[in-house]
Symmetry: C2
Subunit: 280 residues, 2 copies
């Protein structure tokens, strides 16, 4: 699918962007807006029912571009580690049930009291070795998402595309790749070279858009901006991922309480307008 | 000066760590605690008087290890740029008057509406070409401080030691070097190699300590932690800077409202204790 079909045919709406919508509202809103693809999150899908979600979206003619998220694979405690692996197998099963080929992985932060980022990243690699064949058997690719370095201690010890690719390249590209999320990589002068490295190997499994705005809110998690409101050069990054061979969905994933407080259809119309203005 | 003198002889107290203290209280508090070195900030020094500060500290037998800060050199507007250069020349004069050899530079963020990090960094380089000879003539070294990538848009377009060194290496090492601040570089897997690169060229002009703690507060500027409260491996980073040849002052610079609300002498005692426990 590409822009020769319609200007919005590459666009996918990640459901967290319009968190105020139920899954039926999401399906209905996307159909009305001419959006054919959505990215999903596990918690709302589980609450609605995995099979029920799959049928709802299939009936609406919507494609699921990714499921967020597995990961949190840095535990030192063996029981915690086993529980995390079990949970990731469930996430893989859910992705397969939703007919998406991509499960996004957020690696997890440092265990309490630890200062060893390197060791934590190695445990992520060990966990991938257990999960990648399981995922491959179900037609699901694991997509390691590097998160901005401000999340390195408490959420994701993989902070750059370079680190994500160092892990991914231990596995076949059809099993493990990376997410290029503009919010997390926009500041990194090595991102263009790493996008080229990822694309050449067919490892760009997801491309997500959100803008960088300041001041950051307390806790920083909900600080993402609507496209065009911040400092991300979306057109440059899209040009880079496409020059690297990526022609997949372009998913807008914004966590922002101001957007969540507004009418969902109005937010989606604004997302589509900003996407066309800044990322096309 | 080294640890063979006293365990605290390398320690320097940056005055912002105990912002509640006036300059006379800072001088008195450091002398009583056996701390022989301080790092200063321009605003409180200007308020007290530059010459008066120099005499106060000299009379107390205190050495000034750095002055924070010059920089903010990314303006596009010619008048703004000229004003920034003038202000930096004044900062250099102040550093010389305080008998410190090191002026810390924070590069500045993106101008309003700009998304061009690369161009902004180049303007920093252009400004350094004007300022470095002026500083050298007054016995002052310019120390580029890379700030954590979470400050890239609004405060400092130089986010890594690699970027700071790419700029510094355009000039003689005795004119332009870098600050290694643990808070800003702890997450970066390239920091060890860049510390070695900086040290080999004699470009580590300042080494500063603060811990990384979460959750980050709104605006994130005042989120630094007391040594030992977070995820920074101080001993590892100190070992790296010393293996690279650095034997200068080790400056503790923490911006934290909880510390500012406490008794200054108690905070300084805690800083010294944590320094010995985590960084020696």
């Amino acid at each position: 699918m590409n822009d020769s079909v319609t200007p919005l045919s590459r666009l996918s709406l990640n459901q967290e962007t319009i968190k105020q919508w139920s899954l039926p509202e999401l399906a209905d809103g996307c159909v009305k807006a001419g959006i054919g693809q959505v990215g999903l999150w596990r918690a709302p899908v589980q609450a609605y029912g995995v099979g029920r979600t799959a049928r709802l979206l299939s009936d609406a003619g919507l494609t699921v571009t990714s499921l967020c998220r597995g990961g949190f694979l840095t535990a030192l405690d063996p029981a915690d580690r086993a529980a995390a692996l079990d949970d990731n197998r469930r996430a893989i099963d859910e992705a397969a049930a939703l007919s998406t080929d991509t499960l996004v992985l957020v690696s997890g932060g440092l265990p309490p009291g630890s200062r060893d980022l390197y060791g934590a990243r190695e445990r992520v690699g060990d966990a991938l070795a257990e999960l990648a064949p399981y995922a491959a058997g179900r037609g699901v690719r694991l997509a390691i998402e590097p998160l901005h370095p401000m999340f390195a201690s408490d959420r994701c010890v993989v902070s750059t595309l370079a680190q994500a690719l160092d892990l991914a390249e231990r596995f076949p590209a059809e099993q493990v790749g990376v997410v290029v999320d503009t919010y997390h990589v926009w500041w990194d002068d090595r991102a263009p070279a790493q996008i080229a490295r990822a694309g050449a190997a067919g490892r760009i499994h997801s491309f997500q858009l959100a803008d960088w705005i300041t001041p950051l809110p307390a806790g920083v998690l909900l600080g993402r901006g609507q496209l065009g409101d911040g400092t991300v050069d979306f057109r440059a990054l899209r040009t880079e991922v496409e020059a690297a061979g990526f022609d997949g969905p372009i998913e807008v994933e914004i966590f922002n309480e101001t957007l969540w407080a507004r009418d969902g259809s109005e937010v989606l119309a604004e997302v589509a307008e900003r996407y066309l203005q800044h990322a096309c």
